[in-house]
Structures are given as C-alpha cells and as structure tokens.
C-alpha cells in the first residue's frame, strides 16, 4: 500500500514529465522570450545576489575568508531551501487548482506533488549551476559532491510525503495554503540559510536545530562544503521516512474519498 503511491510515480513517469513540461510551457506561452524567462529570472536574481553580497556589502564568513565565501555559503543552503519551500507552498492548492482534472479524468493524483516539485525546481537548478560555476572559480569543489544525489533523493521524498498530506488537507481546509506560506516565510529567519554558527553564536545555533528545515540545509551544505553533521543526517533521514510513510498512508486512504469533497 505504502510502496504503491511511490511506485505510481514511476509508473506514470511519462505523464509526470509531460505535465511538468506543460506547466513550464504554459507559464510563459505567448511571451516573446518564452522559455528564456525560466532561466533568465533565477539567473539574474542569483547573480545579482552573489555580486551584491560579495562586493557591495562585503559580507565575510570570517576574517580570513575570500570574497565569494559567504555567497557560496548562502547559496549552498538557499538552493535546497527554495526547492523545498516552493513545493510545500504549492502543495495545499494542488488539488483545488486541478479540480476538473481530479473530478473528470482518471488522474493519478499522487503524482501531482512530483510534477509541482519538478516545475518548482527549475529555477533552483539554474541557481545550482551558478553556484557550481562560482565554486569552480574559487576551487572549492570537493569529492563529496559525488554524494549529491543522496540528499536530493531524501529531499524529494520528504517533499513528496509532506505534500501528500498538505494536498489532501488543503482540499478540506482552504486556509492551509496561507498558513503554510506564512510559516515558511518565517522559518527563513530561523534557518541556517543566511546565518552561520560563527555569526549567531552557539546558543542561537542550538535554537535553530529545532527547525526541521535546518537539517535539510545542513545536509546539503555537508555535501557541498565537505563537512559531516551526523545528527542532521539522522534527523533528515528520519523526517523523510516519517513523511513518506504518513503521506503515502494518507493518500492511499483518501485518494478516492477526496472526490466527494471537491
């Protein structure tokens, strides 16, 4: 039963791929630059961010660090953080926005979060490319980058599991969308995306550990910067497991039932 929901995504891989392309295309269809906007926006945003942080504010991680170090530090956290928050923000309205699809067609709704996850991570992919370029330029690429698929898979599973729950709950409680986006907006200040342990001190850092999203960011950073925080990895893995089990259970229980409420 639990595996079914996950396997369904693989079984409908083609549908997921085409629907992702459709959503991406639909957003900018008819615009002069079309596809380019998908790349242009994150490209300019991220590049501007890196330049402003590194050269205008001259933010430094520590006294001895180079000009790009802080930008790299933030970007390495920002990429996974953005992917995750975007997916979670979208989740509550996934079914509501595709009501006719769910009501009139035999559509595998368990694949909806996957489509949304893929659609939402295009921008972050661009940011990741910029991040890689900057890291290469400053020669900070380590062998640990080879482990990158590991946190990506965990992140995807975590996002899926939570999205399944949010997606179903969002059908009944419309307020969920606003609530989720509000909470996620707040967590950016309570996560290590912009803050480092050296900057905020050990006490505040310990406080940050209570935010579950912290561990996601830390794990990605471990891979990017060649560090290892066993606690975060354990927690991230456990969170993912719980999210997937609860999510898959929810979706398999309510998949049919939800049609009555919309």
């Amino acid at each position: 039963m639990l595996a079914n929901s996950l396997l369904s995504i693989f079984r409908h891989a083609e549908l997921v791929r085409e629907m992702t392309l459709r959503d991406l295309k639909g957003a900018n269809q008819g615009a002069l630059l079309g596809w380019l906007w998908l790349v242009l926006r994150p490209l300019v945003q991220t590049a501007a961010y890196v330049l402003v942080v590194s050269f205008v504010f001259r933010a430094r991680l520590s006294e001895s660090s180079g000009p790009f170090d802080y930008a790299i530090y933030v970007l390495s956290g920002l990429v996974p953080y953005q992917v995750l928050t975007k997916a979670l923000e979208e989740a509550p309205s996934l079914i509501r926005e595709r009501m006719e699809l769910v009501k009139q067609v035999i559509y595998p709704i368990e694949t909806l979060p996957m489509t949304s996850l893929l659609t939402g991570s295009i921008g972050s992919l661009v940011a990741l490319a910029i991040y890689t370029a900057v890291s290469l330029y400053t020669r900070q690429v380590t062998w640990s980058w080879l482990l990158l698929p590991l946190p990506i898979v965990l992140l995807a599973l975590f996002a899926l599991g939570v999205s399944w729950v949010f997606m179903i709950a969002g059908v009944v409680v419309k307020d969920l969308r606003e609530a989720v986006s509000l909470c996620l907006g707040l967590t950016v200040f309570f996560s290590p995306v912009v803050a480092s342990e050296a900057m905020v001190g050990p006490r505040a850092w310990r406080l940050l550990q209570w935010n579950p999203l912290t561990h996601v960011v830390v794990c990605f950073r471990d891979v990017f910067l060649g560090q290892f925080h066993p606690l975060s990895w354990t927690l991230f893995a456990c969170m993912t497991l719980v999210a997937v089990v609860v999510g898959a259970w929810t979706i398999s229980k309510t998949k049919l039932l939800i049609n009555e409420y919309i």
Binding site: E14, L15, E18, Q29, L101, Q104, L256, E260
Partner: protein, 431 residues
C-alpha cells in the same frame, strides 16, 4: 467463463451534505463518539445491480439527479462505493467532460498531446494518432494557432476529436455528445458506432432518446437512484418516457404557458395503442390520439390543432390536418358541457423514429385564418409526449424524419437521358 466485464452488485452511494463544508467533516471525525449529525444524507444510488458483457453497448437514461453520473464515476473508479461491489475487467476510459486540462495559450496540436494523455493514452500513442485527430477535427490551419483564438464550435470540434481518438476496452460516455454542429455530431456518432462494433464495451449516458435507441443494445433506467429498468433499449426509452409522462401529468395544469380563454380545459392527453395507453408507438402501425376535455357550456364550431414536434428539430412540426394547409379543414366539432373525449384515429403512423411531443389547442372556427394562441379556448404546450420506434430492431438508428407514402415505382426505358441529342430535343421543344 462468462464474459462479464462490468459487474455492479447491490451498490449504494450516499453523499454527506455537510451543514458546514469545512468544519463538518473535521468535527465528524474528531467527535466520532457524539451522536450529533453534522450532515444530511443524500442517497444518490440505491441498491443498483447489473452486469455488462464484453462488447455490449448499454445506455443509461433517467432525469437529472437520478444518479447516472454518480454511477458512472463509481464504475470509472472516480468515486468510492459505500456499499456493494463493482468489479471492472479491463482499462476504463471515461469521457465525463470535454476539455479537461486544455490550455488556451497552447496550439491545437499541443492541446491534442496533453488532452490525449489526460485521457490515459501514452505519448507515443497520441503522437501516432495526432494526424488522424487533426484530420477528424477539420480545423485547417487553425490547428497550429492558440486555442484561445478558436470559436466555441471549433473548440468543441477539437475536444471531440481528441476524445474520439481513443481505443478503449471499456468506454464511459457521459452526455458528452451534446454540442457541436450537427454535421460534427453525426461524425462523432459514426465514430462511436465504430468503437461499438470494434468490440469495445460502452456505457452511455444521454438525454437524447434517439441516440440511446441508435447505439445501445440494452438500456438501464435510473429514477431517484434506483434501477427501474434493465432490458432492451427501446423498452427503456418507452419506460422512461412513461415515467416522465406521469410526472408531467401530475403537474399538468400548473406549468407551461397556458393561455386559455378558459372555456375548454384539457384534462388529459395521450396515445392509445390497441386500446391501451402507451407512450411508445410503433412506426407504421395504427394508433389513436385522445384529448380529454371539459367544457363549462356546450360549444359549437370548435376546431383543434395538434402540432407534433420532434426532439430532433423542435422548431418545425407536423400537423394533424384538422388545421391543415394541404387538406381542407376538418369538420368542426360540437362539444357538450362537461367532460368528453376527442379521439383521433391514425391508420398508420408514418413519422420517423425518435422522441416527440405535441402541443394541443382548441379554438373557434371564426379564428381559423387569423389564429392567435391567446384567443384559443385552450392551448397547451407539451400536452403529451411519446417516442416512435421501429418494431424491427434492425431499423434502429436510421434517423428518419417521415416515411413518405407512395403508390408505386415504375421504370420508363430511355426517358431522362441527358445526352446531347436529348438536350437538343428539349431545346427544340422549348422553342
């Protein structure tokens, strides 16, 4: 092994209509020990059982809200079943609505891809069929323009063509064939015919009785969530017409724009076949039309008209030639005070197949050449309705309008030859 592909076994479906849509379902589960009802119950489908064999085409008819769509959705697996079981063997494709998932900015071709995939086809399958879909839709160069530039009819054409391209095991169609121009509807019907004869099992909901009779080998009639008929399509249509008729009779006199001078009241109207009241008549066979009227006082020189309107084309009508334009008007009637029955004999009913209704009016002879409905003694829209069917089921679905009476067929050799010589002869004659 029997070849049952759909087995519906004592299925019940209950909808919970929550008093409060948001807190209702939450309260129900949180306070599960409380007896309080947070919803009203609505039984959409009650104790329905039937089986469908492979290759059968089954029509489902019934008034709005009878549970047809709910039943189809349960069979398609879009709604859970409350009680009972539904077994389905094979891949179900459901056409419950047109235009699901289309994007106005995408071209027709792109929408074909996504629309097709949403109907359950693989990308390769859709791409393989794209050309035939484009051809079927006959949209010309518009196929590469954005959907938002289409007219409503063109849009319907495209969406139909997408729907019609599937090769399903089991096809579920829910009133999807109602729009589009008549040429295209005919084309779509042809395609459904093709699907039916290719061995697909089809469940078909329609309010068009002609379509049901044309396409279906069997008919189910649903009324208030209950299955009241499971048998031949023609009988199903008759059964449905009957129940609608009785509902109409119950409201006769209260509804409809009844503009009457009030001197004649139409109490009842209907058709008799072999002396028994019936709402389905056999084409080409005798029947009688009765009009039960009540007058407050005796009336002389009364004429009446019966306009027989076909569901296929409600704006034109056939007249019973009491108010004929070809034949001389029928002799006028003298109606006594109180109740009486006007009985009209038809030696042969030669109208085409399908559903009909009749508007009936009574008026004074003096109004004959300047008749207005307001000045009639009585004018009743939809005084009765019936369906005309062929006795021999082989003739179903001819879509006939009328069977024209003729006296014989002759062959005159050489006549009507349009060679040069012949035309010269004609022109010579013209001179």
């Amino acid at each position: 092994m029997s070849d049952v592909v759909i087995r519906v076994d004592q299925v019940w479906k209950r909808f919970k209509l929550y008093h409060n849509l948001i807190t209702g379902p939450i309260k129900e589960h949180v306070f599960f020990w409380k007896r309080e009802q947070y919803y009203q119950e609505f039984m959409a489908v009650q104790d329905v059982s039937f089986e469908v064999q492979r290759g059968e085409v089954v029509g489902i008819i019934g008034p709005n809200g009878a549970g047809k769509t709910t039943l189809l959705k349960m069979i398609a697996g879009l709604l859970p079943v409350d009680r009972g079981r539904i077994e389905v063997r094979g891949k179900v494709t459901a056409l419950l609505a047109l235009g699901v998932g289309v994007h106005p900015e995408f071209s027709g071709r792109e929408n074909i891809l996504y629309g097709g995939m949403l109907l359950g086809m693989s990308k390769r399958e859709v791409l393989r069929k794209t050309e035939s879909i484009v051809e079927f839709a006959e949209l010309g160069e518009f196929i590469d323009r954005p959907l938002r530039t289409y007219s409503a009819g063109m849009r319907a054409r495209l969406l139909f063509s997408i729907s019609m391209s599937i090769d399903p095991d089991i096809l579920i169609v829910d009133e999807a064939l109602a729009t589009g121009d008549s040429y295209f509807v005919g084309k779509s019907l042809g395609r459904i015919h093709e699907m039916c004869s290719s061995g697909a099992t089809v469940l078909f909901v329609s309010h068009n009785m002609g379509q049901i009779q044309n396409l279906c080998s069997r008919g189910l009639v649903l009324m208030h969530g209950r299955l009241i008929h499971n048998g031949g399509a023609t009988e199903a249509v008759a059964r449905y017409a009957e129940s609608v008729l009785s509902a109409q009779q119950a409201s006769l006199g209260q509804t409809g724009p009844r503009r009457e001078a009030g001197r004649i009241q139409l109490r009842d109207a209907g058709l008799l076949v072999e002396g028994r009241r019936s709402s389905a008549v056999m084409i080409g066979e005798p029947c009688q039309l009765f009009l039960d009227v009540e007058c407050q006082e005796p009336l002389e020189d009364v004429l009446f008209f019966v306009q027989v309107r076909s569901e296929k084309c409600p704006t034109t009508y056939a007249v019973v030639p009491t108010l004929g334009f070809v034949a001389e008007p029928f002799q006028s009637l003298s109606l006594p005070a109180g109740a009486s029955r006007v009985l009209i004999d038809f030696p042969q009913l030669n109208i085409g197949d399908g559903g009909y209704w009749c508007d009936v009016g009574f008026f004074d002879r003096s109004l004959l050449w300047n008749l207005s409905y307001e000045r009639c003694y009585c004018y009743q829209l939809r005084a009765l309705s019936f369906s005309a069917v062929y006795r021999d089921s082989r003739y179903f679905g001819r879509g006939t309008m009328v069977e024209l009476p003729m006296t014989g067929v002759r062959i005159i050799p050489g006549a009507g030859d349009t060679t040069v010589e012949d035309s010269r002869k004609t022109s010579a004659r013209l001179q």
